[in-house]
């Protein structure tokens, strides 16, 4: 059976450049911290990757701290400042929401964007120094936040700003320096690098409490032998992603076409986040009255891979906290699926999606009639 992979926000296939870099590094026998020739060669690989990742997000190479992935980077950022009050948006990824027990939730508007006035008020009401965490773009709806405004509001209240840019990096332009972000999370496998590799971008001069203590790697911010193939693959993927940003105009066209065709088929379908700026590849859509899991299973049987929300703890298909926060009625939220495209998505993939989803729609509406 032909398959259509449309779950790119869960993970993307490894780009050929990244696969080559990973394979080459896997046959390397050095430990980047060793001082002998093998170790020095490994160190060079790490440094080149650091440059490439920094270039993708316009940060300095010495601001990149490599981690085991986005989750570790998020937890590192949120736990790095004991004593600071933590404010996280209501639509953050679980790794941000669960990082600290007593975080305050910043509400979002119906279109999925953070309520800036509410953020300002929350910061004003308590004089203690704070850390604000609001993601760049949401993994489920693709809604893009006004990052520059959030940074401005946070800074004028003396707060630090952490931005989870896992879904944005490689899909849209992300400028760490210009947006005045203090801490920013990246994940390799969402932009065509290998799993098990990520980074926290840390503004120069910020002092952090490390999460993993050990041999003093990553300027003492992250102990543990560097994951050389993971880092090399991340670097190669970042370089390729930087060159591949232009391709997202075409991906946006495919996504828009998919959205149009699904809505034409199902006039009662609801698209979430469509009134806000959105990632070019993401479509979160509800087929009212048909459970998310039913849709995902039907699509899977037809060779179309999508998801009912964040992949993470899956198996359990629970209602999306993101849609809840946007004020979507529970019944409608329970009928939403996430469709996400990538650089190798074709029109045929979209046809397959539309056919399968359309057939399910027709079936359910016929049996309801």
């Amino acid at each position: 059976m032909r398959t259509a992979y449309l779950d790119w926000n869960a993970t993307a296939p490894v780009r050929p450049e990244a696969a080559a870099a990973v394979t080459a590094a896997l046959t390397d026998r050095g430990n980047p911290s060793s001082v002998h020739r093998f170790g020095r060669a490994s160190r060079r690989i790490v440094n080149e990757a650091r440059d490439a990742v920094a270039a993708l997000v316009n940060a300095r190479a010495d601001e990149i701290v490599f981690t085991s992935g986005g989750t570790e980077a998020n937890v590192l950022a949120l736990e790095a400042f004991p004593g600071r009050r933590i404010l996280v948006s209501a639509i953050e990824h679980d790794s941000v929401r669960a990082a600290v027990d007593d975080a305050a939730a910043i509400p979002v508007l119906a279109d999925g964007r953070v309520d800036l006035a509410a953020l300002e008020a929350m910061l004003a009401v308590d004089p203690r120094p704070a850390l604000v965490s609001v993601m760049f773009a949401n993994n489920e709806t693709g809604v893009i936040q006004d990052v520059a405004a959030i940074a401005r509001i946070a800074h004028s209240a003396g707060a630090l700003y952490h931005c989870d840019a896992i879904q944005a990096a490689g899909k849209i332009a992300v400028d760490f320096a210009a947006l005045e972000i203090d801490l920013m999370t990246l994940s390799a496998h969402k932009l065509g690098g290998p799993m098990g590799s990520g980074a926290l971008v840390v503004r120069s001069g910020l002092v952090l409490r490390p999460l993993l203590r050990g041999g003093g790697q990553e300027r003492r911010l992250r102990g543990g032998t560097e994951n050389l193939p993971g880092i090399a693959g991340f670097g190669a993927a970042a370089a390729a992603a930087r060159n591949g940003l232009a391709a997202y105009a075409a991906i946006a066209k495919l996504r828009d076409a998919a959205q149009q065709r699904l809505c034409d088929l199902a006039p009662d379908a609801v698209v979430f986040g469509a009134d806000a700026p959105r990632l070019p590849n993401t479509l979160c859509i509800a087929m009212p009255g048909v459970a998310s899991s039913t849709q995902v299973i039907a699509l899977d049987l037809a060779g179309v891979m999508v998801s009912a929300g964040a992949a993470c703890s899956s198996g359990k298909v629970t209602r999306s906290h993101v849609l809840d926060a946007m004020g979507v009625a529970p019944a409608l939220a329970e009928s939403a699926i996430r469709i996400s495209l990538g650089w190798s998505t074709t029109e045929a993939d979209i046809d397959q999606l539309v056919d399968a989803w359309g057939a399910l729609y027709a079936r359910t509406r016929a049996s309801a009639a």
């Binding site: 026998r29 002998h36 679980d94 993993l212 203590r213 543990g224 193939p229 993971g230 992949a311």
Partner: protein, 402 residues
């Protein structure tokens, strides 16, 4: 001998640093490669085929690793490496048991930095640490350990096989002691797993850290063994999507898990034969070097050590100068993590070596791909280097400048 050195001069150096990291076994690499490319699903995306095939691969790997240490697959939590596993065990045990009045860790002064640093960091959360000295052999003093454990002790952490001196601790005895006192026994087994037989039940180990890249698997992956019966309770270090039964969030890196699983399966099948081969090579190395340089001193217990490890002192010859004089050999003075800061090993000083002698010591790690020829070449190269430096009076010159 000089001919032998010249012949090898433009080849890559002979790798003698298997305790810092091991090359990925080509069979492991082959097992991993498909999971980087065509089989790329997120193992948590079990609602579709790509995710399910990745999940099945991760679970197979979990079973392979569990089998190597005689554990149940459900007792394996994948981590980003042994450093994370050690942080997770030490901090997690203290954070969980502190609420029951157990806020103390007992460990050894010779543990890996990440265990020592984790213990130290927990002081900020009101926990206490006891660092026990070791015997001259590097072995734990069991009586002293027994005395150190009190009612406030939550966890004992002792490295299974040492990264610098290769010494293998009496795990079963420590395990019995801890179990009798109701204290968690954690062992950093990054160097031991796959090299010597480990049986978590027989040794009564509650928590055990495992590294991929020390057993011919990939970097960036490791595991923490967490006993189910009786349950070893710890607090998670990295929360989020709830993977690994809530003990360790983050997308599981399928290719790395597969690599660690394959490395474990290979180790289980080949460990006994490989250990015998490495022991023969180690004895050949030691005999050769002691014949050429009778003043050479072996650090750490001569018998109870990893088959592939030697730690040698060359009195009067500073290790950095010796390494520089032997560009044909890839060697180290000790832990790679801290190798950049070249100062005498705190481990060797804990064994009672003087600063001078500790600074004249090298770690030699032999492994799966070390050959007899390489051992002979290394012995002759080292011997020549030591003689050259000894006769040039480098010792006194360096001593004068420091």
């Amino acid at each position: 001998m000089t001919a032998a050195i010249a012949r090898k001069a433009n080849r890559p150096p002979v790798y003698l640093d298997y305790q810092a990291t091991t090359p990925v076994d080509p069979r492991v690499l082959q097992a991993m490669l498909p999971w980087f490319t065509e089989k790329f699903g997120n193992p948590a995306s079990i609602t579709h085929a790509y995710g399910r095939e990745a999940e099945a691969a991760v679970e197979k790997a979990r079973g392979q690793l569990a089998s190597l240490i005689k554990a149940d697959a459900r007792e394996i939590v994948f981590t980003s490496g042994a450093t994370e596993a050690n942080n997770m065990a030490v901090k997690g045990a203290l954070r969980f048991h502190k609420q029951f009045g157990k806020d103390r860790i007992v460990t050894l002064v010779t543990e890996h930095k990440c265990v020592l640093e984790s213990a130290k960091a927990m002081a900020a959360e009101g926990c206490r640490a006891t660092y026990l000295p070791v015997e001259e052999s590097g072995l734990v003093d069991l009586d002293r350990l027994k005395e150190a454990i009190d009612d406030q002790t939550a966890i004992v952490s002792v490295m299974a096989a040492h990264n610098e001196i290769g010494v293998i601790q009496p795990l079963a005895e420590i395990g019995a002691l801890c179990r009798a006192r109701g204290v968690l026994f954690h062992t950093d087994a990054a160097q031991a797993v796959g090299k010597i037989p480990i049986d978590v039940d027989a040794m009564q180990i509650d928590l055990m850290s495992i590294s991929g890249h020390k057993v011919y698997g990939p970097k960036g992956i490791g595991a923490l063994y967490i006993r189910r019966r009786p349950r070893a309770r710890i607090t998670a270090l990295i929360d989020g999507g709830g993977q690994e039964r809530g003990m360790r969030s983050g997308t599981l890196p399928t290719p790395l898990c597969v690599g660690l699983g394959e490395a474990a399966a290979l180790a289980e099948a080949e460990m006994a034969g490989e250990a015998r081969r490495l022991l023969t090579l180690r004895q050949r190395f030691l005999a050769g070097i002691q014949r050429a340089l009778p003043a050479t001193r072996l650090n750490g217990d001569p018998e109870r050590r990893l088959p592939g490890n030697l730690n040698l002192s060359f009195p009067g010859v500073p290790a950095p100068a010796l390494m520089e004089a032997c560009p044909g050999l890839a060697l180290s003075t000790g832990s790679a993590c801290t190798a950049a800061e070249i100062e005498p090993s705190f481990v060797l000083r804990a064994l009672g070596l003087s600063d001078d002698l500790a600074a004249a010591s090298l770690r030699i790690g032999l492994g799966r791909f070390t050959t007899e020829d390489e051992v002979d070449f290394a012995v002759s190269t080292l011997a020549a280097g030591v003689r050259q430096l000894g006769s040039a009076g480098v010792t006194t010159r360096l001593a004068a400048t420091t």
